[in-house]
């Protein structure tokens, strides 16, 4: 179920063309490095792309995702901003009105809220308010989620706030290859994109081909707003996004080995719009669905998935759609986060309960 709107101006940028200083051919790199290379390609392809945020220049970002960009593209395009999130997004809107494609970095999930008005009331609505005259191709990168033993406000999952807001696109990458491609697609989108990066997976490696071009349109199969089956299975369906995709894959592994169950795993990738076709197709075969995310359950992405699957595949379901999520508490102190975060045991327990119906 992809969004039907055709997005103007989304041409395939030549990100696979000759660039200097970039390692050629597929190689194993971290998710952080994949984003870094994706940003480089996007900046090389389009001189209007500007990276801005706290500590993104000289330091290369606290997670080094923007490492080396200042040196390569200069101070006018890689901006160490004053410490003010509302201003980062607010000025990005102005830059976009002037024809630029800003990529804002919010240092941590918990610090996006000072920019909430600019995102929700301004960035999301100007296209609508101007009857389409204004386009705001702004990408807001947010490292999100827990699991790194951090202090307060550094482990949050704010996606539902943004999914709830019309006018915004919300995506979450889960692995290096997707990260590399999705960041370029997000930057090429003429709509604002909230780009969520699973911070506890930044250091996980996989083979990426830095020369691989982005897809022609974010809405095509394999485009920015399509979900993907990342492990085929027949007995039950697990759906995750961002950091929990890896957890779902681990759970499927354990379940196959210990219980002989074949679990299908789907990575949502796009949280708004949702692409539920692969999920519905899977549920029609398996009859069982467990949705997994770190965010609290109340009015969450899993709530939306459960509602829509129930509406559209009710007669295929052998059990209610079950959810494994963070609890409906504030993110707890680091020493308790392992209890808070969905893990393999909780997922397998939900799978057992699903089979118990």
């Amino acid at each position: 179920m992809t969004s039907g709107a055709v997005i103007a101006g989304e041409q395939a940028a030549d990100v696979g063309g000759e660039r200097t200083g970039e390692p050629a051919g597929p190689m194993p790199i971290t998710l952080a490095k994949a984003l870094n290379l994706g940003l480089r390609s996007a900046m090389a392809a389009d001189p209007k792309v500007i990276v801005m945020g706290e500590d993104v220049g000289t330091l290369g970002g606290v997670f080094r995702v923007t490492d080396g960009l200042l040196k390569e593209f200069g101070e006018a395009r890689v901006i160490d901003t004053p410490l003010a999130e509302s201003a980062i997004v607010g000025t990005a809107i102005g830059l976009a009105m002037r024809g630029y494609r800003p990529v804002c970095e919010i240092q941590f999930d918990g610090f996006v809220y000072p920019a909430f008005d600019q995102i929700v009331s301004q960035l999301a609505k100007l296209h609508y308010r101007s009857a389409g005259r204004i386009r705001l191709p702004v990408t807001i990168r947010i490292p999100f989620g827990g699991g790194i033993g951090a202090v307060e406000h550094h482990s949050e999952s704010p996606e539902a706030y943004f999914c709830h807001t019309a006018g915004l696109k919300v995506v979450a990458c889960s692995n290096p290859a997707d990260a590399h491609q999705m960041i370029q697609q997000a930057i090429r989108s003429d709509d604002p994109v909230i780009f969520l990066e699973p911070k506890r997976r930044y250091w996980e490696k996989a083979v990426v081909d830095p020369g691989s071009p982005g897809e022609p349109s974010p809405n095509a199969t394999g485009g920015l707003h399509s979900s993907a089956v990342v492990r085929a299975g027949t007995d039950a369906t697990l759906v995750g996004y961002g950091p929990t995709v890896r957890t779902c894959l681990d759970a499927a592994e354990v379940s196959a080995a210990d219980d002989g169950r074949s679990l299908e795993v789907i990575d949502l990738r796009s949280l708004s719009p949702l692409d539920l076709e692969p999920v519905l197709a899977s549920v029609r075969r398996t009859g069982r669905l467990v949705v997994v995310h770190e965010a609290p359950s109340n009015v969450s992405v899993s709530a939306e998935v459960a509602a829509r699957v129930t509406e559209q595949a009710f007669y295929s379901l052998e059990a209610p759609v079950l959810r494994v999520t963070g609890f409906d508490t504030p993110y707890p102190p680091a020493r308790l986060e392992d209890h808070y975060l969905p893990d393999v045991d909780r997922i397998l327990d939900a799978v057992d309960r699903s089979f118990g119906y």
Binding site: T58, L59, R335, L336
Partner: protein
């Protein structure tokens, strides 16, 4: 008091030892201290809220530089009290060093070092009285110390066992604020309440050079000024906001900003504990007397990394670090004490021993801190019972091994 004058440094380009800039309330600024702990002027009737303060009109004219007899504000210090300030700084630095090593050994998840900022924090912290309320950022371990907060409680946050383990009201010290700048508005509101209540105290809020760019901080300036609240804005300009130098936040000196909002400000050598004490005492007195907020910019230096997760070699030079090393606030105070004959070998030795014991005990208490009861993560989500949380708690409790709760 002779020694103070020797110790206070010239920091302003105009050659003023300490510069107080005032726009709206020049005539209200009092150049001499009231007797310590002594009389305070009652706020005039109706001086509370809103906009009925003594200075509700807009400030006019150019900012004026006012000379205030700041040394008089520390003239009452006894030799023991002087040494006490040094002791505070030594112990706080020792706590900081211990915490840094605890982090390296995996006992803390993170640590934000205050190294270099001991004078700013102890000087301002010791200016506070029991009726005052302090609102810290996340690096104010020295102020916490002055407010009687158990250093182990500060470590607990960074160990990840809780999110703020002390009683703010009991200590006159709010919880740490990790969201940069947010606490300045809390302090402003708290001070509005203090004015309403005719509290004899004032509030003080700590924030950094980086924080001065946040909307919240600028909104707090405006509100505090309009409502003439009893609040001291205490900015520790430690020259860096993670990797960004202070000049990336502001093209004017931070303390000059207050003039535009219509309240007085002062820039002080933040590595001079006596100067910080004097200036903060004066600022608190101004605030308590109902003359509205004051901005203090304490010029200091973050000698360590931003936190243990940071690598400052990526963005600042060793020459800069070296230059500030020569202005180390502890060395400055040692020199001062020695010059006054207050650093007897025996006393110095005893302090060193005390610091060793303190660090040793702190370490032991930190490493002995157990992980919290897992079900406690469901506690205090809100005051009234929330059915969803309660249901999640019982389901979760049922999954725990018997030993876990």
């Amino acid at each position: 008091m002779r020694g103070v004058t020797e110790l206070m440094q010239l920091l302003t380009p105009d050659g003023h030892r300490i510069t107080v800039v005032s726009r709206a309330r020049t005539t209200e600024l009092d150049g001499s201290p009231t007797a310590p702990g002594g009389s305070r002027s009652e706020p005039p009737p109706g001086a509370g809220l809103p906009a009925a303060g003594p200075d509700s009109g807009p400030g006019g004219g150019e900012p004026t530089i006012v000379d205030i007899d700041l040394p008089a504000y520390v003239a009452d210090l006894t030799d023991d009290e002087l040494f006490g300030l040094y002791r505070d700084m030594v112990l706080v630095r020792r706590m900081d060093e211990e915490a840094t090593s605890l982090q390296r050994q995996g006992e803390l998840g993170l640590w934000a070092s205050l190294r270099g900022q001991e004078a700013a924090q102890v000087g301002s912290g010791r200016a506070l009285g029991p009726d005052d309320m302090a609102f810290p950022s996340y690096r104010e371990h020295g102020v916490a110390w002055c407010r009687g907060v158990d250093p182990a409680a500060v470590l607990a946050i960074f160990r990840g066992v809780n999110l703020g383990g002390w009683d703010p009201a009991g200590h006159g010290f709010a919880l740490y604020s990790i969201v940069v700048g947010a606490q300045t508005l809390h302090a402003t509101g708290y001070a509005m309440g203090m004015a309403q209540d005719r509290s004899p105290g004032a509030a003080i809020v700590y924030f950094g050079d980086g924080a001065s760019s946040e909307g919240d901080v600028n909104e707090a300036f405006g509100w505090a000024s309009v409502f003439a609240v009893p609040l001291v804005f205490f900015c520790q300009n430690n020259q860096w906001a993670i990797s960004e130098p202070a000049r990336r936040q502001s093209r004017t000196e931070i303390f000059h900003r207050a003039a535009g909002f219509g309240f007085p400000s002062v820039r002080v050598d933040g590595n001079d504990v006596l100067a910080c004490l004097a200036v903060t005492r004066w600022a608190l007195e101004t605030a308590r007397a109902g003359r509205g907020p004051v901005l203090v910019e304490a010029v200091t230096y973050r000698m360590g990394a931003h936190t243990t997760a940071d690598d400052p070699t990526r963005y600042r030079s060793s020459a800069e670090l070296e230059a500030w090393h020569r202005r180390d606030p502890l060395d400055r105070m040692r020199t001062h004490l020695a010059a006054r004959g207050l650093l007897a070998q025996e006393r110095d030795r005893r302090l060193a021993l005390e610091a060793d014991t303190f660090a040793h005990e702190l370490r032991a208490r930190c490493t002995a801190m157990p992980d919290p009861d897992p079900t406690s993560l469901f506690d205090h989500v809100q005051v009234t019972e929330n059915g969803l949380v309660a249901a999640q708690r019982s389901a979760f409790a049922a999954t725990l091994d018997p030993g876990e709760t």
